[in-house]
Subunit: 478 residues, 2 copies
């Protein structure tokens, strides 16, 4: 478990993607398993990724007028039962406290699987007038959903997330909120994760239990399967009627509020691993990386090497670059492997010969490109290169999405693509659950979303031949 296994090769991505994924999670020290099945330990390096995502999102939420709160961990069972669809969606996977302070509880307490009912109950008590609206609350917490099969970051009994819950005086404003947040999520992909998300509306079958509309961000993994990476929900007045959240409007009338909820979770860490990672381990986009530059001295006992390395480190730190100098007694090769496993965007190698020539070797993690540059140029070269790497990684991921997005005009072609290549398939749909179900049974693919660009690519649903109503992106998904 210690450092000694570090350089041991991990499973190849193309041999066994699932095993590769788990290897990266463990060997890059992102997580560890705990003694409670399905509950993982977020180790410092994994948690730092979450913190960087969190800092970006929290800033964007606050800029747009959202406030953080903290609701209780537990929901009394009677409260949990108030909104029927919601209960149906979540009851089967709840964890329940039945004992507190050595006594059987009179009412059982559900560990929050999501907090709609807690927010609704609170809102019903604090909202009276249009003057109290909108309320735009968010919370950072963990939730518990009892899962039979779990995978680090992707599906677990406990995961970290943010959940936003907002209340508005009218439909239009609430719908806009759900879309505004979707944009923030999309920008997280563009600006921080270097992941291009496909966005759109979920079908009835795939939407959130209790939502009118669910919007989604979907990412394509290296194995060509899609990962639902975040959702925003326009809830209409379903919850506000169930929980009696009313307000007196300017016209003096008492009306139910319109609501949204939305969340992204540590599942995004899984997305980053599976979009960018390779056979040497994790590959991190620079803005997300806890360490952006690893400086690795060669023959560090030779006079001047460590001093120069330290000097470079300090110069880069002054530019607010997150840099680490590895002065441990491990071999350079070992340090290279560690740096690669952890996905540090840039590695700087510096040995006695380089020192003499006033040069360093710079290696980009994502494409292994090596360059020799003058030490004098480092302060210009590194920040620029980090920015370029971000853009190049985003472009590479985008190219991969485009290459693996196909259109199908007949169902046979659809099935063939899903069988042989997977990826996204764009196809028309009649809007009937039955066709969606048939597609899933035949191919395991599901409707990932109905994209905002609904320009038709055909007139009929290739499955049932009836009139088509929607453009849909299908994919096999996690």
């Amino acid at each position: 478990m210690g450092k000694k296994n570090f350089v041991k090769a991990i499973t190849s991505r193309d041999d066994d993607f699932a095993q590769w994924y788990t290897d990266v999670c463990r060997k890059a020290e992102l997580m560890d398993y705990s003694d409670a099945k399905g509950f993982i330990i977020y180790r410092p390096y994994g948690y730092a990724l979450w913190e960087n995502m969190k800092n970006y999102l929290d800033g964007e939420f606050k800029k747009t007028g959202h406030e953080n709160v903290y609701m209780p961990l537990v929901i009394p069972e009677s409260l949990f039962m108030k909104e029927a669809e919601h209960v149906e969606g979540f009851a089967p996977e709840t964890a329940i406290i039945t004992i507190g302070g050595n006594e059987e509880l009179q009412e059982r307490l559900i560990i929050r699987p999501t907090s709609e009912v807690l927010f609704c109950n609170h809102y019903s008590k604090i909202i009276e007038s249009h003057r109290d609206l909108p309320k735009k609350y968010n919370q950072w917490c963990s939730v518990v959903r009892w899962e039979k099969t779990t995978r680090p970051f992707l599906r677990g009994s406990e995961f970290l997330w943010q959940e936003g819950h907002t209340v508005h005086s009218n439909e239009q404003e609430a719908k806009k909120e759900a879309l505004d947040i979707l944009k923030i999520y999309e920008n997280l992909g563009k600006e921080i994760l270097a992941i291009p998300f496909i966005t759109g509306l979920k079908t009835e079958k795939e939407k959130f239990a209790g939502a009118v509309d669910t919007y989604t961000i979907e990412a394509l993994m290296h194995d060509n399967k899609a990962l639902q990476s975040g959702t925003t929900h326009y809830l209409g007045t379903g919850f506000s009627k169930a929980f009696d959240i009313k307000f007196q409007d300017k016209d003096g009338k008492v009306k139910p509020v319109y609501q949204t909820s939305w969340g992204v979770s540590t599942r995004l860490i899984g997305a980053v691993i599976m979009v960018h990672g390779d056979d040497s381990g994790l590959v991190l986009p620079p803005r997300l990386a806890p360490v952006q530059v690893d400086i690795i001295p060669i023959m560090q006992h030779v006079e001047g090497v460590l001093e120069k390395a330290e000097e470079i480190k300090e110069k880069l730190q002054k530019l607010n670059i997150r840099v680490k100098l590895d002065e441990t007694d491990k071999s350079p090769g070992w340090k290279f492997s560690e740096s690669e496993m952890k996905g540090t965007p840039i590695r700087i190698e510096l040995g006695p010969r380089d020192l003499k020539e006033n040069k360093v070797v710079v290696v980009k993690r994502y494409n292994r490109e090596k360059e020799t540059i003058s030490i004098d140029d480092i302060v210009d070269y590194i920040p620029k290169t980090l920015e370029n790497i971000h853009q190049e990684m985003y472009n590479q991921a985008l190219e991969n999405v485009m290459k693996n997005t196909r259109e199908a005009y007949d169902y046979e072609t659809f099935k063939k693509i899903m069988n042989e290549k997977s990826g996204y398939v764009k196809m028309m749909w009649c809007g009937d659950d039955a066709c969606e179900t048939k597609i899933k049974e035949d191919t395991k693919a599901t409707a990932r979303c109905m994209p905002f660009d609904q320009t038709p690519i055909g007139e009929e649903c290739p499955v049932c031949k009836r009139k088509a109503k929607h453009v849909v992106f299908y994919a096999k998904a996690y």
Copy 2:
């Protein structure tokens, strides 16, 4: 529950301190009760206080080489039972999950009341060599302790906190860690909360279940009772032996690690309320305040008033001052009351007459001092005044501590002070549990700490007349 109750006066501090406290918690919109007894809702304003404390501490922890992690919410019962003293301390107040995914669990899961055992279990798996040490981990989370009587922020079934858990190769380094963190906590008081803490070592009776030494920060409330506001523990090798956390040292020998743990919680919000608050509500020190300056326009319909108010707001924002302009249709008097209830350090009043004279009225919340200053001076005056307020509030709190710290050389005097005045009483102690117990029975006061300055103030323990060993601060406490 809405805005309409805002101006209603709250209970006076000196009439009923407990009721005053609850009134402030509710009326300043810091929290609300949830439907699960003992679990509170941290409303935006209350949560913002916690976020500001958290930002300061997180920065200090990281500067000193600590890393954040996240351990599971739950502890399998068998794991929980490993360290005997620890179990004895926490078992009576645990909440237990017995059902997951509609099935009775084979092993019950304890909701973490604190996470020593989770950290220890993890450390035992990842530590092998002196190269792996030290490990200095911290986590921000909530914990659950089943409490019979609860009070917002002070004692609840769930509270937010940070818990640090560190592992070292030697005793000296671990002991230093416990003291270094105590210093960070003390500085939080000095730099952010404007609270002077008394620090020192806990007695055997008062220390943490499983610790060798517990250090504490104690604050004195307006009612002259002490509040334990945070603790750091030197754990020695008790946990490492129970959990088998060993490392191979440089000399080749396998040894147990030395550990610490430490935490502060949302209880600190309670301290801020009870140290600084007054009969008009909360009083916040400027560095902690979510809003530092409230600008309240008078006769805001008069041309120019709102424009000038907006101009002042923007000028202050450019100085990174957290400022709010209240443009709502409430009356100025109402807005003053709200601003006072929420404890905003400075209020700026601006009406048509002021505008004509190019002046504003500035009111300091903590001492209600009013000044009229030229609008041209605002950008100089406000930042300077915020800094002064911080220092003045700290000094005022310190004076209160000094005024209410007395020395007792005989037990009758001790009892008299505790009965009549409360506050801290400094007295010598023989070191015997029996005397500590007698003091508690006689006066309800407990040993808050043995201060670092152990200059004796007498030769014998006034309770039993035997030889005195320690200087102790006693107080009635929350």
